[in-house]
């Protein structure tokens, strides 16, 4: 399928080519579809870029100085002059990203072959000169190793979990499938056997975890989403809030559909909300600096939540 070429800036195209040409030089001949997929371009965009490279060269424009690109059926191969046949050094951004990824991976529970990764990181440090100037801190949770083991063995486990969406603690029978770190918290993707659907659990809200001793056939379980994350779009309500400056943190801390300034100080945000208790908890933390604009049914939720907490004190 041919995707229409996007308008791409010259810098983006050249930067891409400076990575592509040495990559191609190392492989000599590749499928154009595979190459397009590797570089996240449409076949049309890739063909345009490679054709562009074929027009380039330096005086006296002898074959030795020209990049020669050949297309044959679904394959492409090249003859590349010396100048473009070696990979470029990593930019600071690339080195930063690679170090951040490697350091974070080292902290993942059950990280395979961490000695090899640590040694690769040492070599990367020599290559990039980013040493102890960059520190990545990953939260730890005492349940992580156990959960990683359960994910690996398709174990059925029971867990006690406090859910902020219901504001209650319940016991669930689940099959842990994947653990993931997002920001300051670890999460567990598990199949909740009570409803036979995937659910996300914040690991630090699991108060008890018990192995049933049973192993479940993974083939019989519903599939998880490809990427871990909060797939709330299908169920979430859109709630509009007006935030005074002392509550602007809401827009930084939580995903928002949109935000805009109203006047000098007020920020209007539209948030995805999956439960009233969750929104009530947010509102009571923000205080009167957050006002629900819509839907109307949540207009007094902050005050109601405050009254509920206050009942403890009176």
């Amino acid at each position: 399928m041919s995707t229409a070429a996007r308008q791409r800036r010259a810098g983006e195209r050249v930067q891409g080519l400076l990575i592509m040409l040495p990559w191609l030089a190392a492989r000599k001949r590749v499928s154009i579809h595979e190459m397009a997929s590797t570089f996240q371009l449409s076949v049309e965009e890739l063909s345009q870029d490679l054709t562009l490279a074929g027009l380039c060269g330096t005086p006296p424009y002898s074959p030795l100085e020209l990049i020669e690109i050949f297309f044959d059926e679904n394959e492409v191969w090249v003859e590349i002059p010396n100048v473009f046949n070696k990979p470029l050094r990593l930019s600071v951004a690339e080195a930063f990203a690679l170090r951040a990824v490697a350091d974070t991976a080292l902290a993942l529970p059950g990280a395979a072959n961490s000695a090899a990764l640590a040694s690769a990181i040492r070599k990367l440090n020599e290559l990039t000169a980013i040493d102890d100037a960059l520190v990545i801190e990953n939260p730890h949770d005492p349940l992580l190793a156990e959960l990683a083991h359960f994910c690996d063995t398709n174990a059925r486990v029971s867990l006690d979990y406090f859910s902020p969406t219901t504001n209650k603690s319940t016991s669930r029978s689940v099959v842990p499938r994947r653990i993931w770190l997002n920001g300051e918290h670890w999460y567990l993707d598990a199949i909740d056997l009570g409803i036979n659907e995937p659910r996300v659990f914040r690991v630090d809200r699991i108060s008890a975890l018990k192995d049933s001793g049973e192993v479940v056939d993974a083939e019989t379980l519903p599939a998880l989403a490809d990427e871990p994350g909060f797939h709330w779009d299908a169920h979430a309500e859109r709630v509009t809030l007006h935030l005074e400056p002392s509550a602007h943190w809401v827009a930084e801390r939580y995903p928002v559909y949109s935000q805009r300034k109203i006047g000098d100080a007020v920020l209007e945000v539209v948030l995805p909300v999956t439960s009233a208790p969750w929104l009530g908890r947010l509102l009571v933390r923000a205080g009167n600096a957050a006002v629900v604009v819509s839907p109307e049914k949540y207009a007094t939720l902050g005050a109601d939540t405050a009254a509920n907490i206050l009942a403890r004190y009176n």
């Binding site: 010259a10 050249v14 400076l18 570089f39 562009l52 380039c56 060269g57 330096t58 005086p59 100085e65 100048v83 990979p87 470029l88 990593l90 930019s91 600071v92 951004a93 690339e94 080195a95 930063f96 990203a97 690679l98 990824v101 991976a105 993942l108 059950g110 395979a112 961490s114 040694s119 690769a120 290559l127 102890d132 100037a133 960059l134 990545i136 499938r177 994947r178 653990i179 993931w180 997002n182 920001g183 300051e184 630090d204 108060s207 008890a208 871990p228 009530g280 908890r281 009571v284 933390r285 205080g287 009167n288 600096a289 005050a303 009254a307 509920n308 907490i309 206050l310 403890r312 004190y313």
Partner: protein
Amino acid sequence: MAGVARDQAERVLNLIALLTENSQPLTFTQIRGALGANNYADGESGRATFERDKALVRDMGVPIEKKTLGGNQAGESSYRIDRRQLELSSVHFTSEERQALQLALAAVHIDAAWADRARLKLGLDVAEGETLAQAHLPVNSVALPVVTEAAQNSKEISFSYRGETRRLHPYGVLGRGGYWYVVGADQIRNAIRSFRVDRIEGKVKILDATFERPQGFDIQAAVATDTEMLGEGAEPTMAHVLINAALAPSVLREFGNESVIETRGNGAVVVEVPCGNEGPFRSWLLGLVEHAEVLSPTDVREGIKNWLSDMQKGGAQ
């Protein structure tokens, strides 16, 4: 071909090739002579085009060296690209190291194309299969590589933060809890300070001044954790907070078992936590909604009650 203006991508690729191929620096006149008028037209417009292309090449991280000539070309600038500065130094990963890096790249998702470009430059493949433990690293500021580069090269930086200009000797960059902080010696306030990188306004400038990072400087200790921030107030006050059984395990993971001063029969605990910093303490406490209650000190308890009463009334704070 003459007379057909080349598009910028083609010109820039030609320029990089020319400046890399030649071991001697070239003046703009020589560059125009070599690449022809269809790359750089005669007169000022050609010069302006060259300046734009040169800026783009530098923005892409390709280092163009500039040298000012003497003799009969005195004052004229000449340019070259040092291949050694352009090309990746040779690095040999063992097959285990390659595999480990490929798995790391599959397990940790970073919000930028940077890691993918690095992978392609290093000739690493995409790891097959799914990893059971994954992480998402948000990259929410283009300033991140700039401040990291400055920290790495011990170069002073200046930037605008909350409307004020800061000059900082950046000792390092810390990734914590989904945020990135640049930490160092604030040259205006003459104190160690940390700044959230995504809150930096506009561009970060790397200055010429250099510095030496104090030996043993602890980047992590220099940035207060959320828990430490609860106590960052004028007075080091501690609060006693009753936590219901449902949330006790979660609170103990945050503050440690040593914070417990009383265990009640129903699984509830009383913990001692810092509360000197009113806003963060209140936000933490109310995040536990009716599952937590401040017992003491009285003024902190009354402060929470007043906050809740004001909310209940919908009145102004």
